[in-house]
């Protein structure tokens, strides 16, 4: 068997094992894992075939970035169901920080405005913003539900609504950015991220690869914190009612 076939076979075996374990543990995730794996295979194969073309044509590169942001938006938006206009809110939380930071990096000349540099950078920043948006949004929705009595207690003691919500919002934002902080803290020790590996494999010097990776990684911390903050604010806005109180749907529905 060739190395290529072995590689794919091993990877498929691992993900099949994960799906099996998820099934055994009744996590309700096995189907999702299989679909995610199939998508990854199809998408990476397609990108492998297309990327050469995308790198050559600027318009195609822009379209590629747009597809990244839209896909990330649909993914995050689908994870925060229950929020009105979830996709629009997720799109703002992901797109503004990720594309904004990418634009700044290009504007100051940190990266060349070529598809070869723009696509990977925009992709990494968008992916990070997507994760922070999903984690923060989900944690905030759980928090608004779990902390409902504490929030109402604070309101009853004379807090303004924003003050009463602050502990719940802070917890959600922290949850959203912990992964990127850990990733940054452990880079080089636990992980050798994709950019670095890719550049080295592509023939760049390790020093150059490290510099590019550092730029992306440190930018990512800011992008993810911004994404977490934006999605938290956009979700909170859906729950603010006039008169320093929560909208009815989220109020305690205990015995009356």
């Amino acid at each position: 068997m060739s190395a290529a076939v072995l590689q794919v076979a091993c990877a498929v075996a691992f993900v099949a094992g994960a799906a099996l374990l998820a099934h055994r543990l009744q996590l309700g995730l096995s189907r999702e894992i299989v679909i995610a794996a199939v998508r990854a295979i199809v998408q990476l194969t397609a990108v492998g075939a297309l990327i050469a073309l995308v790198f050559e044509i600027d318009a195609l590169a822009l379209a590629f970035v747009a597809v990244m942001v839209v896909t990330a938006t649909l993914t995050s938006g689908g994870r925060i169901k229950g929020v009105p206009e979830a996709r629009r809110r997720a799109g703002a939380a992901i797109g503004a920080p990720a594309l904004g930071a990418a634009a700044i990096l290009i504007a100051v000349g940190a990266f060349e405005p070529t598809p070869r540099e723009v696509i990977p950078v925009a992709g990494i920043l968008t992916g990070g913003a997507m994760i922070a948006t999903t984690l923060t949004g989900r944690r905030l929705l759980e928090g608004l539900h779990d902390d409902a009595d504490a929030i109402e207690t604070r309101l009853a003691l004379g807090d303004r609504l924003r003050t009463a919500l602050a502990p719940t919002v802070r917890t959600a934002i922290r949850t959203g950015v912990v992964p990127v902080i850990d990733q940054t803290r452990n880079v080089g020790l636990v992980t050798l991220p994709g950019t670095f590996v890719g550049l080295v494999l592509g023939g760049a010097s390790p020093a150059e690869a490290a510099r590019v990776q550092l730029t992306v990684l440190l930018t990512l911390v800011a992008v993810e914190l911004a994404a977490a903050t934006v999605i938290a604010e956009l979700i909170v806005r859906t729950r603010v009612a006039p008169g320093e109180r929560l909208t009815e749907e989220d109020q305690r529905t205990g015995p009356s």
């Binding site: 009595d149 504490a150 109402e152 207690t153 604070r154 309101l155 009853a156 003691l157 004379g158 807090d159 303004r160 003050t163 009612a241 008169g243 320093e244 109180r245 009815e248 109020q251 205990g254 015995p255 009356s256």
Partner: protein, 203 residues
Amino acid sequence: MDGGIRVRGLTVSRGGRTVLRDLSFDAPRGQVLALTGPSGAGKSTLLRCLNRLAEPDAGTIELDGEDIRDPPPPLLRRRVALVAQLPVMLPGSVADNLAYGLDALSPAARDEALLASGLDATFAERPATALSGGERARVALARALTRGPHALLLDEPTAALDPDTARHVASTIVALARRDLAVIVATHDRELAGAVADATLRL
């Protein structure tokens, strides 16, 4: 009536259902009004309308002659203090809870609130989240009192308490009303209502 709560023509619906229809009553200062009625009758909803945690569809509510929509809600909620059925203790000590959200709380004012709620001053340094149900109920009362309320709204104040503790809390409630507070107690416990109420409103 000079002071206290005055409700006229209050109609409240929740989730498309009319919970309270054209309700009028007075809760004067210095007295305890018991709200009774089965679960779902709208007792909690009514209390939440009185401090604007919920908004009625129609009607007016006055506190000491002033429409409750006039003051900013945070100020209103300090004047019309609501103590929930299962009071949430915020992180920190009992003293932290009593001072929560206040610019300053003197030790004297803190101890006075504890004493008025049937606790002694040594409770101040206890961790708030490690208290028994009865102690929580009393700390929640004391925490409401440190706001300097004009009215006190108690939602099933004894529901989670054993009979002995419940009797003590009941006598504390009556004593608080005598400090010129308008006290409204929502309860399905007829014994409690009978023990504390100057007047009863059945929903």
